[in-house]
């Protein structure tokens, strides 16, 4: 029994130590993100979209939209893509062996006909069954292929694209009119070294969508989506910005990322053996360029917005989160030599080290703490001071960080309604009591799935975008 309590006390010590280190790192991230945003805001506010549209500096982009069972939203999404403000782009929709009517609704709605396009298999993917296009939409190409997963579909899109840059966009997401211009900015500043740029993901649930555009921004009505809103703000405006500034960004969201085609081909395109294809390609790019000592840059642009649907039921959210965790672990395992390896600079020591400590070990320790610290206190094995310190570190820092992320949100989005901010402020407090802990549990599930070798995505539910009343 004494040995057992010694182990419990040791674990409790680890919990407190990890929480303290985590709090310090979060605080540091917050400061770095603030500095980055302050500098970035000046540049962003000076972005002359008219100049970018008309001067010929914006490089042509192939927008790749992998679609699997997306019949509910695909037509609206494609129309929205075709209406983007950008001088030269093509939209390549890749129907990845959908079992529903995704291809049929596209053919009917956009009057598509079969066509031929000569292409070269530079990255691997499954068989292409047919290509479709329409004289009415010369920028659009629809690819029908055998199901092979999102990575496979994106690889097919890369092979068929003919422009120097490609932008991967999820089929259930919508881009703002100027998003492509905004995300292009780093490529204009550094056309040679820039290889990838990520945009910000916001939650579309609750917003009004007309003709494939978000016309009125509002918060989700359902609590689960609302809690994810504050989570997304924190993830993108603190973590992503900070890592971007430090040159250690390991994820460009699969929902919206702009890549140099030649660089993606150099690393063999998207990998088929992970479910976190967005993290995997970024890690591969870091590794490739660092191994060869070639100069490169990747950046995050906070005001380039992509709107995505957030899960509104616990079951779907659980599948999504455990999949994210599994994908991250697959990538870290594949590139384990990079973790804490100084050869890979900030990417290996800071980025991957952080992911390993706080996204793999973190949830385990946090959940262990949730069970063991109150138990040990109840049994009189730890002091009241220790217990209060644990409570403070567990909850106060989380609330402080979420609240601070709202300050950053105000720096980026200048027209959020005060009522919505008040609601977000409330959520930033509430998410720390229950939601965060459930998330850690799902992460644990993801770790278990990784260890037992589970594969696949699991079903995601799609709903039509919200329209205003009477539409």
């Amino acid at each position: 029994m004494t040995l057992l309590w010694t182990i419990v006390r040791f674990i409790n010590g680890c919990v407190l130590a990890l929480l303290m280190v985590q709090s310090v790192i979060y605080l540091w991230q917050l400061i770095v993100a603030f500095l980055e945003l302050r500098q970035h805001r000046r540049l962003a506010s000076r972005t002359d979209t008219w100049w970018m549209l008309t001067s010929g500096v914006a490089l042509p982009i192939s927008i790749l939209v992998p679609a699997h069972n997306e019949e509910e939203t695909i037509v609206e999404n494609v129309r929205s893509m075709l209406a983007l403000h950008y001088p030269d782009f093509e939209v390549i929709v890749i129907n990845d062996g959908s079992r529903d009517r995704t291809l049929q609704v596209l053919i009917e709605a956009l009057n598509l006909q079969k066509l031929e396009r000569v292409w070269h298999p530079e990255v691997p993917h499954k068989e292409i069954r047919g290509l479709y296009g329409s004289p009415r939409h010369p920028r659009l190409l629809v690819v029908d292929k055998v199901n092979g997963g999102k990575s496979d579909a994106l690889n097919a899109g890369i092979n068929l694209s003919r422009f120097p840059l490609f932008c991967a966009v999820d089929a259930d997401s919508l881009l703002d009119h100027d998003s492509l211009l905004q995300v292009m900015r780093p490529f204009i500043e550094e056309p040679e070294e820039m290889i990838a740029v990520g945009g910000r993901i916001c939650i579309v649930n609750g917003c009004t969508v007309r003709a494939g555009q978000v016309t009125e921004v509002a918060l989700p009505a359902r609590p689960l989506a609302l809690l994810q809103s504050i989570e997304y703000i924190r993830a993108f405006l603190i973590a992503r910005l900070a890592w971007s500034r430090l040159g250690a960004m390991l994820i460009i969201s699969g929902a919206f990322g702009l890549f140099k085609r030649a660089a993606a081909i150099k690393v063999g395109g998207y990998s088929h053996d992970t479910v976190g294809e967005d993290m995997e390609i970024v890690v591969k790019l870091h590794r490739h360029f660092r191994d060869r000592g070639e100069k490169y840059q990747m950046r995050f642009v906070a005001d380039s917005v992509c709107w995505t649907q957030a899960p509104e039921t616990l079951g779907i959210l659980r599948r999504q989160r455990s999949r994210w965790q599994r994908g991250m672990m697959q990538s870290l395992a594949k590139h384990r030599e990079m973790i804490f390896n100084r050869k890979y600079g900030a990417v290996g020591t800071l980025g991957m080290g952080y992911f390993f400590l706080f996204d793999i070990i973190g949830p385990i320790i946090e959940l262990a703490g949730l069970v063991l610290v109150p138990l040990a206190y109840w049994m009189g094995e730890v002091t009241l001071h220790f217990f209060l310190a644990w409570l403070a570190l567990s909850f106060t820092y989380g609330v402080f960080l979420s609240a601070s992320s709202l300050l950053l949100e105000m720096m980026v989005t200048r027209t959020t309604r005060a009522k919505d901010l008040a609601l977000l402020a409330m959520s930033s407090v509430l998410e720390n009591f229950g939601y965060r802990q459930i998330n850690s549990l799902w992460r644990l599930e993801g770790i278990w799935q990784f260890l037992t070798g589970k594969q696949g995505w699991g079903a995601m539910q799609r709903t039509k975008f919200t329209k205003p009343n009477g539409q």
Binding site: R42, S55, E189, E190, A392, A418, L421
Partner: protein, 377 residues
């Protein structure tokens, strides 16, 4: 014990800070939204008024009398957004109105602001005022410590056709970190035919290759045929040719196939830039250079030369384009096939011949392109 107490106190402070932050966020946003709404409404009414008075300049004093002090800021924003979108007479009328409102004076003052983004904004707007003291102020701004301000000043001077010396522009813009920025490239492109002579001298001067790339690109986009001999000379210059190219080729051969997608040295980039410029200039004097480039050891140059040959439309390129249908690199084969298609009947016949031929590499691309263009089922 002291350690835990420290954690407790820090947590209490953070909890207080959190409450304060949340309160500030909500209250500040409420005030900000009110200001944004007020500004938007005022901007709209100012826009309507300005459009009315632009047509009747004699009433400008009456317009000025209706303005409140903060309106100058709003009007400046409004006109800065509007000016790039209008042309000719209408743009001139807006500039006159701005002059009558004293907005040019305001921008000249703002050009000395301690905040770099304000200086850059002012430089951008001043690019519409063809006045000696504005040009002088923009010339001074070319020496601004912030590259963002220098770029805006240079763009404004280029718009006013008032760049006094390309060499000066090169010294202030190109030989700095921003030389590779596409924004700088666009400024050089917009210099216009009057700068062709100076840009040609840049090609022959002792400047870094990055600067020569900018000049080459600009000469192509300006589209003045006087630039062709200088570009051809650059293409045929010894250090851009054989030895260097072979060295480059060997270096690339040593790398894996997928690695060979980017040129490794600047001489290749120069040859590529010359071919790109010649694609825009479309001058028959470039034929020999294009034919040479079709056999370049570097695939990017061959692919660009194929595009260039299609623009020129000379049948003399046909045999070499046919050879390129069997090239080791797919993009070269693709551009050669496209070039042959654009060359018309003779090119299409070549494609049909190769499509029926025994070489799988050539037949694949030729037949594929003919199918894409709908010429064969």
């Amino acid at each position: 014990m002291g350690f835990y107490k420290l954690i407790h106190w820090v947590s209490l402070v953070l909890a207080g800070a959190t409450l304060a932050i949340l309160l500030v966020v909500v209250v500040r946003q409420a005030f900000r939204n009110r200001r944004v709404r007020r500004d938007a409404a005022r901007r709209q009414s100012l826009m309507a008024l300005a459009l009315e008075y632009i047509e009747e300049p004699e009433f400008i004093p009456a317009f000025k009398a209706q303005l409140k002090p903060p309106d100058q800021r709003l009007l400046l924003q409004l006109f800065a957004e509007l000016l790039p979108k209008v042309r000719g007479d209408y743009a001139e009328k807006i500039v006159q109105l701005m002059r009558a409102m004293g907005l040019n004076e305001r921008c000249l003052t703002q050009l000395r602001s301690p905040k770099w983004w304000k200086r850059a904004d002012a430089a951008a707007v001043l690019g519409w005022f063809q006045e000696p003291r504005v040009i002088q102020a923009l010339e001074t701004a070319l020496d601004d410590p912030q590259v963002g301000v220098r770029i805006e000043a240079a763009r404004a001077l280029a718009r006013l056709k008032a760049v006094q010396s390309v060499a000066g522009l090169v010294a202030r813009l190109a030989v700095v970190d921003a030389s590779h920025s596409l924004a700088v490239r666009e400024i050089f492109r917009s210099l216009g035919p009057s700068a062709v002579g100076e840009l040609m001298s840049v090609l022959e001067s002792d400047v870094p290759d990055q600067v020569k790339l900018l000049a080459t690109d600009a000469l192509g986009h300006i589209g003045d045929p006087r630039a062709v001999p200088a570009l051809l000379k650059l293409f045929h210059s010894p250090r851009n040719q054989t030895g260097d190219a072979i060295h480059e080729h060997k270096a690339r051969r040593g790398r894996s196939y997928s690695d060979r997608s980017q040129p490794t040295n600047s001489s290749v980039a120069l040859r590529l830039a010359v071919m790109q410029a010649l694609s825009v200039l479309v001058d028959p004097r470039a034929l020999d250079a294009i034919l040479t480039a079709l056999e370049d050891p570097v695939w990017e140059v061959r692919a660009q030369a194929a595009q260039c040959a299609s623009q020129l439309g000379s049948p003399a390129a046909l045999p070499r384009l046919e050879t390129l249908l069997h090239d080791e690199h797919w993009w070269v084969r693709f551009h050669a096939a496209e070039a042959l298609f654009k060359l018309g009947e003779a090119g299409v016949n070549t494609l049909l011949k190769v499509a029926r031929g025994t070489s799988a590499t050539g037949a694949d691309i030729a037949a594929g392109l003919l199918r894409e263009k709908g010429l064969v089922p």
